[in-house]
């Protein structure tokens, strides 16, 4: 019982610590500046950029040393007066399209951007053609044998029908 209470307390402590852990800068040198607009822009920009070391994290989230260096670099470029597009281009020139979470539309990435829409149109077309074809098909006429069987079933009484069902079920 004591152990359980301790575990619970520990969990609560972890929960409480969560937000602080996130807010802490990766290195002590990386303190945010005074201008909130600048910080907002910096955050939005680094969230759009991929960390090349830990590839599923953004530059804003990553604790990798390289990500910290790149954040410093982004900050400096912004201070130098470059706009967002120029900063992104600065990084793309060094690390390639890969650093963008939203790659630019060019011949190389056309399949990436257009592919899903192409597949959607293709799928819709196939579905449409199939549905049309099915609608056009006349309902198959019964053969003489099937016709006779149907007549027989219709003519038969409810009791016989039940018997027929059990026979079918026992098959």
């Amino acid at each position: 019982m004591k152990l359980r209470a301790a575990t619970l307390a520990f969990c609560f402590a972890l929960l409480a610590a969560g937000p602080y852990a996130h807010a802490q800068p990766a290195t002590p040198t990386e303190l945010p500046g005074d201008d909130p607009r600048f910080e907002q822009r910096f955050r939005e920009l680094t969230e759009e950029l991929r960390c090349v070391v830990c590839q599923n994290q953004s530059l804003a989230d990553s604790n990798a040393p390289l990500a910290s260096d790149l954040r410093r670099e982004v900050r400096e470029q912004m201070n130098r007066g470059l706009d967002d597009k120029q900063v992104v281009e600065y990084l793309v020139a060094r690390y390639g399209e890969f650093v963008r979470y939203r790659p630019a539309l060019n011949p190389l990435t056309a399949a990436l951007w257009g592919g899903p829409f192409l597949l959607l149109v293709l799928g819709a077309a196939v579905l449409l053609v199939r549905l049309r074809r099915r609608a056009q098909q006349p309902e198959a006429a019964l053969s003489a044998e099937e016709h006779a069987l149907a007549q027989q079933l219709l003519a038969a009484g409810p009791a016989d029908k039940a018997a027929g069902e059990t026979r079918e079920g026992g098959k």
Partner: protein, 172 residues
């Protein structure tokens, strides 16, 4: 009826694509700098903090730049390969000591041997960023005009040196 085999064919195509995807190494990024001019730099030498070297000092010769650090485990792994390469005398091998401390880096070279004609000292990793370095070790081949012609990410092996690096150097 061939039609009934269509789903199977589609499945096999999908399977082949997935198999190809598994063989790709997501860590190996295509370099954005191949055939582009190497970034301009001016850095001091590891052994001589008072002596600097710049890109233009290297103009007119083909050289190989190996990015290394004393904290980098994979660099130890490739070190014998670099020592062999230096001994062969086939390439102008320079080092870029990346985000390191001078005394530690010098001690590391004394312990394991120094394959480099000289090492540039890039303490804050600026040139590393300009070169698009994202994992040490990395190795670049730079031509007479100062353009990057070949890049290898990760430790060099004798096979890679024989089949990729040396042919790239000889072709220039």
């Amino acid at each position: 009826m061939l039609r009934r085999y269509w789903p199977l064919a589609a499945f096999i195509v999908l399977l082949l694509m997935l198999a190809a995807g598994l063989r790709l190494n997501p860590r190996e990024l295509p370099s954005a700098l191949i055939d582009k001019p190497a970034p301009d730099f001016r850095l001091t030498l590891l052994d001589a903090p008072d002596r600097a070297m710049s890109r233009d000092d290297m103009a007119g010769q083909v050289w190989v730049l190996n990015v290394w650090a004393s904290w980098c485990v994979a660099c130890r792994q490739e070190h014998p390969v670099l020592l062999d390469l230096a001994r062969s005398g086939e390439v102008n091998l320079y080092g870029l000591n990346y985000k390191d401390e001078r005394p530690t880096a010098q001690g590391w070279l004394e312990r394991h041997g120094n394959p480099y004609r000289a090492s540039l000292f890039d303490g804050d990793g600026r040139l590393g960023i300009d070169l698009g370095v994202y994992g040490v070790p990395e190795t670049f081949v730079i031509d007479r005009q100062g353009r990057i012609r070949y890049k290898h990410v990760g430790p060099l092996t004798p096979e890679i040196v024989r089949e990729r690096l040396l042919p790239a150097v000889r072709a220039l």
